[in-house]
């Protein structure tokens, strides 16, 4: 514990030694960084020449004297520095970004997620996290949801986690990239935004009242199958047991196939100016 608490102090008291000194022991790390996009940007800006390794890892003289992890800022789960201390090294440059400005308030920071948990600086060309694999590393529940029978095209790479969420933090619930769930969904599903003549009130308030956005065992990403989802609020047209489906003794359009939606097609809202429009038939 004493070492953990004093490590930053040691680093603060240390002085810069230059990258040449660092590479005397860590030359295997330089080639990957120089070839990466991050390295290219630094080279163009003169950052690497100016501070080199120590721009991120802090002044290295203490580490030269005592080459242990306590005497230099390292990144990753086995670092002796706290998540905040590691993040601060990145935020020293990247906090001046509208994407990352809310990092301090986000759930990932609160859960001690490290920048290096998702971003790799010394390996690969782009430091951008691979989606969705990086997210699935922690969010196994979402991985399983996104592979259910009904899902968004996440597996095919057409949608990435960061299309809907900003992993660095937003002021919205679940760190979504809009003020409300509906406004976010309308960005792609503009045909559902209305305004409708006949509104289905819960639909206008929250798409997730009925839909599970990552994936569902039920068709159309629904939280329950139809008719049960509809029956959560409405109880109409009697009973829907197995006698009422195609193979039953009394088949009913209320129960088989798409069930309620067989007739109430415009369930998000309707513009038909008649009583059937009011019931979302037309």
């Amino acid at each position: 514990l004493a070492l953990l608490l004093t490590a930053p102090v040691l680093a603060a008291e240390a002085s810069y030694v230059g990258s040449e000194t660092c590479l005397g022991c860590h030359d295997d790390l330089e080639a990957g960084f120089i070839a990466s996009l991050h390295g290219k940007a630094w080279a163009a800006e003169g950052v690497y020449e100016e501070n080199g390794c120590e721009a991120c890892h802090g002044p290295g003289s203490a580490h030269v004297d005592d080459p242990s992890k306590e005497t230099i800022i390292t990144f990753g789960e086995d670092s002796m520095h706290s998540a905040n201390q590691q993040s601060d090294a990145c935020l020293a440059c990247h906090s001046a970004s509208q994407e990352i400005a809310l990092w301090d308030m986000g759930i990932h920071a609160k859960r001690d997620v490290l920048c290096s948990s998702c971003h790799s600086i010394h390996k690969g060309y782009s430091p951008l996290a691979a989606m969705p694999e990086t997210c699935y590393g922690c969010h196994l529940d979402v991985k399983i949801e996104a592979r259910k029978a009904s899902r968004h095209p996440i597996k095919e790479g057409e949608i990435g986690c960061n299309d809907c969420h900003n992993p660095h933090g937003t002021l919205s619930k679940a760190q979504i990239r809009d003020e409300s769930t509906n406004q976010l969904c309308y960005q792609c599903h503009a045909d559902k935004r209305g305004p409708f003549l006949w509104e289905h009130a819960p639909v206008e308030k929250d798409c997730s009242s009925c839909h599970a956005p990552h994936g569902s065992r039920h068709k159309k990403l629904l939280t329950q199958r139809v008719p049960n989802l509809c029956q959560s609020c409405h109880e109409r047209h009697g009973v829907y047991d197995k006698d009422r489906v195609f193979t039953g003794s009394d088949p009913s359009r209320f129960a088989y196939g798409r069930s309620c939606v067989n007739c109430h097609q415009n369930i998000h809202g309707s513009w038909a100016p008649n009583r059937r429009g009011a019931k979302f038939f037309k």
Binding site: L4, L37, L91, S95, A96, S97, Q98, A101, M105, K110, L140, D141, K143, K148, A149, P153, K155, G157, E158, L171, S172, E179, D191, K192, R193, P195, L197, E199, A201, K205, S209, R217, H218, Q224, R225, N228, Q231, S232, C233, E235, R236, V239, D241, K242, F246, T247, R253, Y256, G257, R258, V261, N262, N266, W271, A272, P273, N274, G277, F281, K282
Partner: protein, 614 residues
């Protein structure tokens, strides 16, 4: 210029059986030549990237100065293959009865799908200063056919029809701001225009019985505008940050209702959303991290009030609501390795225009404990609680008829999570996550009364350097839904779902130049619904399905610049649901088109790819 990148060229062979729409739900694969281009170029501060693969994108810029990209993407959503209809005029908005309703084998065959082609351009300029300007535009063309059901009088009371999709969505944005490590301010305006070539689907309801042409409303043209601003300020005290965000948006449309039904007039719809958020994050002492927040969202509906042309007692409701939340999150480090977090949120939501409720109040609490005392073990436990004090209007006649909106009903929801990450040894790690929640609609007499969910996830990673890496996951979910009918029907229905998923991924390097990888995913669902009334027949199969995926891949590193990849992918999907078994096109008084029916499939894909790195 300095270059790097990869080029790939190869071919694939596809063999598929069953429903190719579900088998290729979000893709359009075929036996064909495949390839990709991924090129980066640099010169000084300038960079350029070209990507030709899943999408086409050219992007570039100058570090800290400007960046721009232009892109094109084609996304096809296949919905159902080999659907059929007895109507003529497919892809138009006027479906004419062919007169051959009796024999589905003679009907016109078609596929349900929606294809989206997106083309866009965006750029951001900062000129190496804290100020920036961004601008972008995108056009999305969507076409295809969606299944639409409708109800009319006559022998064919319910009918499923192919509705045309012919949409264009144009969006554009303009933003500007100032950003430093202490202060970030942004202001952005968005506009979106949705155009639909077909705002009504006309169809012959029942020609033989003289029922006139029917009109089914489709999404009309609409416009959307939004202005949003955000500020994040980091004062030098208490490691704090203050964030403020405000936005205003409007979406509207104007349509001639008489096109749908004679005698109707016009409808002008207008919905305005206003939001404001504020949050202050601070750390007055090293061991305490705190956040207080306020959220406000208001939806106003300034649309026209219209009375149904065939029933003067029915007038549309203009739904509005506003929601205000206040709360805090606290995190306290008890020791260097143990912390507790807690939070509280109170939300007051007022509803206007709904006949079933005036609003509700939510109180949320959570408490979390985390420990990393042992280097190889991390533990986390969390409990949460939601109390929703709803205000459903029990005087409303709809309630008596069996309506009770569950989104505003009284609810008590409790949740618990337990997670452990364990480094068993230097090369084996184990993760276990357990979660449970239960939502009870405690003042509800009928409809949804209880939801319960339990989940368990296990991950194992096992690595032997230079021999293999492997990972395994297992997931289990249990869901139970209880519903009660009103006194008229007098029964209870209990639905249970067991969802299983597991997967294994193994990579084995061989002879320094080969990497063989195997990936296997298998998930399945077992659902049923039981009634407590003796004369009702239980469902044994409710959304039961099995998905199996096998991927075999062999990467051969031929030289420093050339790789070869050979792969095989097997996918199988089987679905079984009493609601869809023995699907019929003319069941009873209905006419169906085959949408979503019989989606089982089995795919075999083999591919070869040669890659050149430079």
């Amino acid at each position: 210029f300095e270059y790097n990148g990869q080029l790939g060229l190869g071919g694939q062979v596809l063999s598929e059986s069953g429903d190719s729409a579900k088998g290729q739900e979000y893709q359009d694969k075929d036996s064909a030549v495949i390839g990709f281009v991924d090129v980066n170029a640099f010169k000084g501060s300038y960079y350029l990237h070209f990507d030709l693969g899943k999408k086409v994108e050219l992007s570039g810029g100058r570090f800290n100065d400007f960046k721009a990209s232009i892109y094109y993407n084609d996304l096809r959503h296949n919905i159902s293959q080999d659907a059929r209809t007895h109507y003529l005029g497919l892809d138009s908005n006027r479906l004419v009865d062919s007169g051959n309703q009796a024999d589905p084998s003679e009907w016109t065959r078609f596929n349900y799908y929606v294809e989206h082609e997106t083309f866009g351009i965006d750029t951001e300029w900062s000129f190496n200063t804290p100020f920036y300007v961004e601008i972008g535009a995108e056009q999305r063309e969507s076409d295809g056919r969606l299944p639409y059901g409708s109800y009319s009088s006559g022998p064919s009371a319910m009918i499923e029809l192919p509705a045309p999709v012919d949409w264009t969505t144009d969006t554009a944005f303009l933003g500007a701001g100032y950003r430093t490590d202490k202060l970030v301010m942004t202001l952005r305006a968005d506009v979106s225009e949705f155009d639909n070539d077909d705002e009504v689907l006309f169809w012959d309801a029942d020609v033989t019985n003289g029922v006139s042409n029917q009109g089914l409303s489709l999404a009309p043209d609409s416009d959307y505008y939004k202005v949003a601003g955000q500020m994040v300020w980091r004062p030098d005290t208490w490691a704090s940050s203050l964030a403020l965000r405000a936005s205003y948006s409007q979406h509207d449309n104007s349509l001639d209702l008489y096109k749908i039904e004679a005698g109707a007039g016009k409808f002008d719809g207008e919905v305005n959303n206003t939001s404001f958020d504020a949050a202050f994050n601070f750390s007055p002492i090293d061991s305490l991290d705190a956040k207080v927040f306020l959220k406000y969202f208001e939806r106003e509906n300034d649309g026209d009030t219209v009375t149904a042309v065939d029933d003067p007692t029915i007038t549309n409701s203009l739904n509005e609501y506003d929601s205000t939340s206040v709360g805090f999150d606290l995190g306290y480090a008890l020791t260097k390795s143990t912390s507790i977090n807690g939070g509280f949120e109170y939300t007051d939501t007022s509803l206007d225009g709904r006949s079933d409720a005036d609003g509700y109040e939510d109180t949320r609490l959570y408490l979390q404990w985390r420990n990393r005392s042992f280097k190889s073990l991390e533990l986390r436990a969390k409990v949460g609680y939601l109390d929703r004090d709803g205000d459903p209007n029990k005087e409303n006649s709809g309630v008596a008829d069996g309506e009770r909106a569950y989104d505003v009903a009284d609810q008590e929801r409790a949740s618990a999570e337990l997670a452990a990450m364990f480094m068993v040894s230097d090369n084996i790690d184990l993760g276990i996550d357990l979660g449970w929640w239960d939502a009870e609609y405690d003042d509800t007499d009928f409809n949804l009364t209880d939801l319960e969910h339990f989940e368990a996830f296990v991950t194992v990673g096992y690595y032997e350097p230079e021999m293999f890496t492997s990972s395994l996951y297992f997931g289990y979910e249990y869901d139970e839904t209880d519903m009660t009918s009103d006194s008229g029907d007098g029964y209870k229905e209990e639905k249970e779902f067991d969802t299983y998923a597991y997967g294994i991924n193994v990579e084995v390097p061989l002879f320094d130049v080969l990497v063989v990888s195997v990936l296997w995913d298998h998930s399945w669902v077992d659902g049923d619904a039981d009634f407590n009334r003796a004369d009702l027949v239980d469902f044994n199969d409710v959304d039961d399905y099995t998905i199996k995926t096998l991927e075999l891949k062999c990467d051969y590193n031929f030289s420093e610049t050339i790789d070869f990849t050979v792969g095989y992918i097997y996918e199988k999907y089987e679905f079984d649901d009493d609601q869809w078994d023995e699907y019929a096109y003319l069941p009873g008084d209905s006419t169906l088109s085959g949408a979503y029916s019989d989606q089982d499939f089995e795919n075999n894909i083999g591919y070869f790819l040669a890659k050149y790195r430079f």
